[in-house]
């Protein structure tokens, strides 16, 4: 098990390094540069480039950037916030995004699992149909459309929630964005849980357990859920990362100053902020890789067969 984890961690670090390199390269070889927007004389641009080390070879720049990263900094912005250091701003935005994202993950997986289990236990009955309808709705309505709907009806028509995100009422104003973000996860998890549970419940070993006299909660917990859980974990993990994309729009709609909005600002403002794009790209990629790594380790814990085959191979 230790060897398996070590191998996976090493692989992930290598991937992350490669990604940072590719991102850096892409951003450096990009046509145009950060100063083309401002009115500067040629000498000033040259001087500025020298100051920022942009006239060195790309590889040297990359090593410099790695050193910068290692010292726990992302450098300064080129267009946003008048070139202030990126890290404090990024941290603040990430914190906001994480809180809402975390809430929606918890909400999504708990509600999704519950709906899926209820549907599987009432297979073919009314509740099952209702759950199917909910999960279909979640798949075909984009989360931001749901957010617009929520905002229009529960903040505009019925002014119950604040119309825009209000940092002074953190939890209260996080409810609507978290709810709409979790819509897609709820439906995917519910549908998946239902199908997996039904499949496991039809399997021979569950029939045997039933024949031996097990019933109710104990049967579901020890025999059905544990085996149905492996495929479910596979869907949950990518959903966590997909939240990022959804969060980008929802943050725009609800005026939340989170990481997604920062990304939108960095790419669609008057001046594109190269350093923010790079920093956010690295943060998002490392989060994604971390989630995938966690997922792989979790597999090993939930299903011993996986780590055994890896050891042999």
């Amino acid at each position: 098990m230790k060897k398996y984890i070590a191998k996976r961690i090493l692989m992930s670090l290598l991937t992350l390094f490669l990604i940072i390199f590719v991102l850096f390269l892409l951003i450096r070889i990009m046509p145009g540069d950060p100063f083309s927007v401002e009115r500067m004389s040629a000498e000033m641009i040259l001087q500025k480039r020298e100051e920022l080390g942009l006239n060195k070879p790309v590889l040297v720049q990359f090593v410099d950037y790695l050193k910068l990263l290692a010292s726990g900094s992302f450098g300064n912005g080129t267009a946003l916030y008048n070139g202030a250091p990126i890290k404090p701003i990024l941290m603040k935005c990430l914190e906001t995004s994480f809180k809402i994202g975390g809430l929606s993950i918890i909400f999504g997986s708990v509600v999704g699992l519950l709906i899926g289990i209820v549907a599987a236990l009432n297979r073919g009955k009314f509740l099952d149909g209702l759950c199917t309808v909910v999960s279909i709705l979640g798949v075909c309505i984009p989360s931001y459309v749901f957010m617009i709907f929520l905002q229009y009806s529960f903040a505009h028509k019925i002014p119950f929630f604040p119309y825009f995100f209000d940092p002074s009422q953190y939890l209260f104003s996080s409810i609507m964005p978290a709810l709409s973000l979790s819509l897609f996860s709820i439906s995917t998890i519910a549908r998946f849980t239902r199908n997996e549970m039904v499949e496991v419940m039809n399997s021979d070993y569950v029939k045997l357990a039933e024949a031996k006299g097990l019933y109710g909660f104990q049967l579901i917990r020890t025999h059905v859920l544990r085996n149905a859980l492996i495929p479910i974990v596979t869907v949950i993990a990518p959903l966590v990362v997909d939240l990022l994309t959804g969060a980008m729009v929802i943050e725009k709609i609800y005026g939340i100053s989170g990481a997604g909005k920062l990304m939108v600002d960095a790419i669609s403002g008057q001046g594109i902020d190269y350093n923010y794009v790079l920093a956010l790209g690295i943060v998002f990629s490392s989060m994604y890789i971390a989630v995938m790594l966690l997922l792989d380790i979790l597999y090993g814990i939930i299903d011993p067969r996986i780590r055994l085959t890896t050891k042999e191979g």
Partner: protein, 328 residues
């Protein structure tokens, strides 16, 4: 054992005049015919097909037959004056109510510049569908070839190709899109490019899995024995047998593509004015939502119908291609 009897032609005789009964109930049936029967027996799948069909029909014909173009700012005659038809709620002529603009019909209303939303919505659906179809078609070509080649050759080729996929798939879509947004002009090209880069990976995974299954089959061995080259086997023998799962994957990818387009246009790096797509229409509607909420309704409805339709078709296809005993 010398006198082994060899059957002779004269030992057999034709029985004429007797009906040879063919078992009609359990007669054998072609693979695709069976799939079609299963598919059309599924109520949800047929509903999906109808929904998508209706939207495509409107997207193709509605802009053609509309009296306005999608970028035309419509002026109307209001009691002798020429007025720009700005922000009119949906209204139907001839309903007898007090209708200022009774001589003009705007089924979905007009937007805040005075363009007919009916035309714009279907034009937007057309753009969204074209983007989705083009991007997913190219993705299918790339993904299938990549997956089949990787799966067929195995060994080191497979190893290297799979490592590449592993790295490519661990860059989040959002990051790829934002890098592209810096590189490229905003517009259709950007949307298609980001779909091309992200969507082929899923396809190649499925193609590879299918290929791993199929390459051990006897017909591949037979073909190889007869002297067929690898590429002949991959694209002439294995490819036709992967079509089923690939089509299913395409049906699930199209809504993703439509969604991505809508998302990009909403964020502001997608379709640029005066072009429109479902995403940019939703964005425009969102800006006026508190005063003119009807503007956002039509693009959202079309988007939701498309997503629902394609998902239902995909589900139906998946079941029809691999029917489970319990559903038969």
């Amino acid at each position: 054992m010398e006198n082994i009897y060899t059957p002779d032609k004269n030992d057999f005789e034709f029985i004429s005049g007797r009906d040879i009964e063919v078992d009609k109930n359990f007669s054998s049936q072609g693979y695709w015919k069976g799939v079609a029967v299963h598919f059309f027996r599924n109520r949800f799948a047929v509903t999906g097909l109808i929904l998508v069909g209706v939207v495509i029909t409107f997207a193709v014909f509605a802009p053609v037959f509309s009296s306005y173009t999608y970028e035309e700012i419509v002026s109307i005659n209001d009691g002798g004056r020429e007025v720009i038809a700005k922000s009119l709620s949906p209204q139907f002529s001839g309903d007898g109510s007090q209708n200022l603009f009774a001589d003009k019909t705007f089924i979905f209303g007009t937007d805040d510049l005075g363009r007919d939303l009916w035309t714009r919505t279907w034009q937007g659906a057309r753009v969204s569908l074209i983007i989705a179809f083009v991007a997913i078609f190219i993705d299918m070509l790339i993904g299938t070839s990549y997956g089949l080649i990787s799966g067929f050759f195995g060994g080191n080729v497979d190893n290297i190709m799979q490592r590449f996929i592993e790295i490519a798939s661990s860059i989040p879509t959002l990051v790829i899109i934002s890098i592209l947004a810096i590189f490229m002009e905003k517009g259709i090209g950007l949307v298609i490019a980001s779909l091309l880069i992200t969507e082929w990976i899923g396809m190649s995974k499925i193609a590879r899995a299918e290929c791993l299954k199929l390459r051990e089959r006897e017909y591949v061995l037979a073909s190889r024995t007869l002297g067929a080259g690898s590429f002949h086997i991959i694209f002439k023998q294995i490819l036709p047998n992967t079509i089923g799962p690939m089509i299913t994957q395409v049906m699930f990818s199209i809504p993703v593509a439509i969604f991505t387009e809508a998302f990009l246009s909403f964020v502001g790096v997608g379709i640029v004015l005066p072009q429109c797509s479902l995403g940019s229409l939703i964005e425009a509607g969102f800006n006026n939502i508190t005063i003119l909420p009807y503007q956002i309704l039509s693009p959202i409805a079309v988007l939701a119908i498309l997503m629902l339709g394609f998902n239902l078709i995909g589900d139906g296809l998946r079941e029809a291609l691999a029917p489970k005993l319990e559903n038969m």
